[in-house]
Amino acid sequence: MSIDLPFAGRRFSRPLASLYHWVADWGEVFIEALIAIGDLALFSWRAFIWLLTRWPRKETLLPNFYQVGVRSLPVVALTGTFIGMVLAVQSYFQFSQIGMETRLGAVINMSLVRELGPVLAATMLAGRVGSAIAAELGTMRVTEQIDALATLGANPVHYLVVPRLLACFIMIPTLTIMADYMGVVGGYFYGVIILGIDEYYYWYNSARFVGTWDLFYGVIKSLFFGAAIALISCHRGFRCGVGAEGVGRAATNAFVYSFVLILILDFMLGILMDNLYFAIWPEGVKLT
């Protein structure tokens, strides 16, 4: 049996036809992904050009800083505190088995500032801030408010994207520092106050292992996470589909895509910054 396919009028046997469909389907997915990535790259490029050439007005900047920074503070502080406490809970048993519970300060604080603080704070903010940005801009898109901005002579990328990009770029690392701090407090509270680990050695080991570089390591990553969350969420909002379903999908996609990019960036920046560290300090000297 053979099947007609839109391929120069040729007829294919069934196995070849299914292979053809398989290649065509995946090819379509690949091309669509490529178009979306290219569109995001151009969108980001335009946002950076506007950012570098014309600073947004205070009236557009401050509300975004307030929304991203101040309104996110409680949830980020709570996230940080619980990460610290959970790390203490999870590692205490193993470390106490070999009598090294005082090393918990190093383990908790190192994990916090290098990895869990930045990644989990960014994940939480992708959900809180990213989805809100995508839903707000998506609603503006479907109600023609973005087109209205353009007709009133305001560039929508400059007016809507640049303030949100700046707010995320500056406030997400700031909130990460807050999450780190609260995590340190949470870990100390559960490890020292509740589990009774020796306070002096807890802090001594923390200071010995966690250096300035480790703190910078997490904060530098969070700069990239902040920019990624802002650009992906704004892009999803601008490319929102029609109706309530379109807005809902934009908000969901903003979180999912931001989360995936956070993980990819975390991995790539981890490799890059470790290489950078050992290129500058081949002996592994710490900036304490």
């Binding site: 408010q145 087109d147 209205a148 353009a150 009133l152 002579g153 305001a154 560039n155 990328v157 400059h158």
Partner: protein, 273 residues
């Protein structure tokens, strides 16, 4: 003494084609809109009126062909040049498209804040004047668009679009969804804005009352999907007075608002027969 040459048209559309994927919406449209004219574009839903209008103001780039606004091809301008040209437009959206995070006063003041350095007191005064012109009291200034009726939102939209004294005023379905009295108020406002300053106007509508009342010239578009390949998409271009003498049944059917065989066609294409 030589007579001064006639000024070039404000909008010149040359062989415009607009396609979305394989779906052609506009096919080989050529139109000129002289300065000071009020042109109404009519046609049934889906004939490409709004797409034409959005491409004229540069919100959508043409697939082929050119649109010149005062000699500038908007599709070839960069972001900053486009902003300079767009200050010369006023656009009333079908939904009014007011910024719902701002008050009415902030909406009307928006273009002034973006493009002028006027003091707050002058901006406030201009906002109140514009709102009064469209028949809205000072008390609406602090209200949010969600608190207004559809007709009031349209009037705020007109005030916002006119606040910078545009050269080209564009109205997208200005009376759709309004009761007949409010719809006529909007018609009157369109006429008054033209009397107040020599603005060129472009009105997209399927409301024949609006088209007849405000327009100097009417252009009717027909959906590309219903045309034969050799047929023109512009099926009428003339004055409102001549509209009733047209022999083309497609025009007279639309003007009189008669369904004709359309329901049967729809049922047939939906497989109901």
């Amino acid at each position: 003494m030589n007579a001064s040459p006639a000024p070039p048209p404000l909008v010149d559309i040359l062989n415009l084609h607009m396609e979305f994927g394989s779906n052609a919406v506009l096919r080989d449209i050529s139109l000129t809109i002289p300065r000071g004219q009020t042109l109404a574009i009519i046609g049934e839903t889906g004939c490409g009126k709004t797409v034409l209008l959005k491409s004229i103001i540069g919100l959508i780039k043409p697939s082929r062909g050119r649109i010149l606004f005062d000699g500038h091809d908007l599709s070839r301008l960069n972001d900053r040049e486009l902003i300079r040209q767009r200050i010369r437009f006023g656009f009333l959206f079908q939904s009014a498209a007011l910024f719902d995070s701002m008050t009415v006063g902030q909406n009307v003041a928006f273009p002034l804040r973006q493009h002028t350095t006027y003091a707050d007191s002058k901006v406030q005064e201009m906002v109140l004047t514009r709102l009064a012109e469209v028949g809205l009291p000072d008390s609406v200034v602090t209200m949010k668009p969600a608190e207004l009726s559809g007709g009031m939102r349209k009037r705020v939209g007109i005030a916002r679009a006119l606040v910078m004294d545009p050269e080209l005023m564009v109205y997208d379905e200005p009376t759709t969804g309004l009761d007949p009295i409010v719809a006529d108020v909007i018609n009157e406002l369109m006429i008054r804005s033209r009397q107040r300053s020599p603005v060129t106007s472009l009105v997209v509508t399927h409301d024949m009352r609006t088209a007849r009342k405000v327009a100097d010239r009417i252009v009717m578009l027909y959906p590309v999907s219903r045309l034969e390949p050799e047929q023109q998409q512009v099926i009428y271009d003339g004055s409102p007075e001549q509209l009733d003498q047209v022999s083309d049944s497609r025009v007279s059917q639309f003007v009189r608002g008669e369904a004709g065989e359309r329901l049967m066609e729809m049922r047939k294409s939906a497989g109901a027969e």
